[in-house]
Symmetry: C2
Subunit: 209 residues, 2 copies
Amino acid sequence: MEAKSRTLGILLYPDFELLDVFGPVEMFAYVGDELTLVSVAAEAGPVRSAQGQSSLADHGFADCPALDLLLVPGGIGTIPALEDETLLAWLRERAASAEITTSVCSGSAILARAGLLDGRRATSNKQFFELATSQSDKVDWVWEARWVDDGDFVTSSGVSAGMDMALAVIERLWGRERADGIAALTEYERQRDPTADAFAKRLRSTPSA
Amino acid sequence: MEAKSRTLGILLYPDFELLDVFGPVEMFAYVGDELTLVSVAAEAGPVRSAQGQSSLADHGFADCPALDLLLVPGGIGTIPALEDETLLAWLRERAASAEITTSVCSGSAILARAGLLDGRRATSNKQFFELATSQSDKVDWVWEARWVDDGDFVTSSGVSAGMDMALAVIERLWGRERADGIAALTEYERQRDPTADAFAKRLRSTPSA
C-alpha cells in the first residue's frame, strides 16, 4: 500500500446534509497522518447545514490547497447548488486534478450537472434518484447500488451509504486492515458489498432510469 | 403518540467525536416541527472536534434554553471534560429537569463522573470501556449492549451506536413509523435490538467490568 500523503477536500454549501459530510469525515479522519482533511466552501467560515447546525469551512474556493480526494455531499441545498456556476466551475477544475472525486446522496446530481459523470457509472439517493438522473442522460445510472466505484469517481447512495463508500475508498488506498480497523473503532457495521442496496429493493424492483 | 413540542440540547466540548454528535443529530432533525435542536457549549461559537472540523454552538451554558432532551457525545475530549467542574455542574442541573438524557460512546463516562448514572444500567464504547466504568462503581455497567434504555437516561456504545440509540428514542417518543421513516430516508440499516453488540463479542466473550 502507498504511504503517500494526501489531502481530502470536504465541500460545504448552504443546506448540505450533515451526515453526508460527517459520516465519511469520521472514517477518513482515522486514516491518520497519511491524509489531511480540509473543508472548503465558496467563502471560508460558517456554513449552515440542512439540519440547522453550522460548520466552519477552513478555506474558500480561492485559497483552497491542492486536493487529492474530494467529497461532495448532498442535501436539500443540492437544488440551488445545481444552478451555482461558481461551484460547478470549481468542481470541474478540482475534479480534473484529483485522484478520486467522491459524492454522497444527491451530491452525484451536482457532479452530473457539472458534466463530470458523463460516460461513467454512478448512483445516488434512492428517494431522490430522478434529481440525479435528470441532470444528464450520458451517465450510466445504477439504481441498485450502495455505492459505485468508477475509478476516479466514486458515487454513493443516500446519506448513510457515504460511510460504506468512505471505508471502501480507504480500503482501496490504504488496505483492508486499515478500513476494518476504523470500522471497529467507530463500532460501524460496514456494508462491504457495493451492490447490496436494501433501500433500492424496498422502493421498486425495477429501475425507472 | 404525543404531539408535545420538545427541545434537544446537543452538548459540544473541545475534541468531541464528530459522528457521536452528527449521527444522532441527523436522525433527530427529521422528527420535524415537534423537536427543536440547539447546540450548547461553555460559550457560544466555534468548537473544534476531535477530527479537526469545527461546529458552531448556538448557545453558551449561561443562555441555553430549557431542554427536554440532552445529547452528550464522547471523543478524546472526554478526558479533560471529566475534570471540568463547570460542565459537570451544568449537566447535573440540566439532566435533573430533562425528560431523557442520552449519551454516545465515552459520553457515558462524563455522565458517570457527574454521578448521574449511579444506581442505573448504562453502557459505553467497547474499546474504551474502562474509561466509563472507572468513573463510578455504583453504575450497573452493561458490557454487551448497542445501547441501554434506563428510562430517563439512555446510554449507547461506540460512535455509530448513537444512530441506533437516537432512532430508539425517536421510536419511544414519536412511534415506530416515524423512526423507520427516518431510517429509510437516510438509508440507514438500523439495529433494533439493544442487546445485539457485535463489537463486544469480537473483543471478549465475558465482561471484565
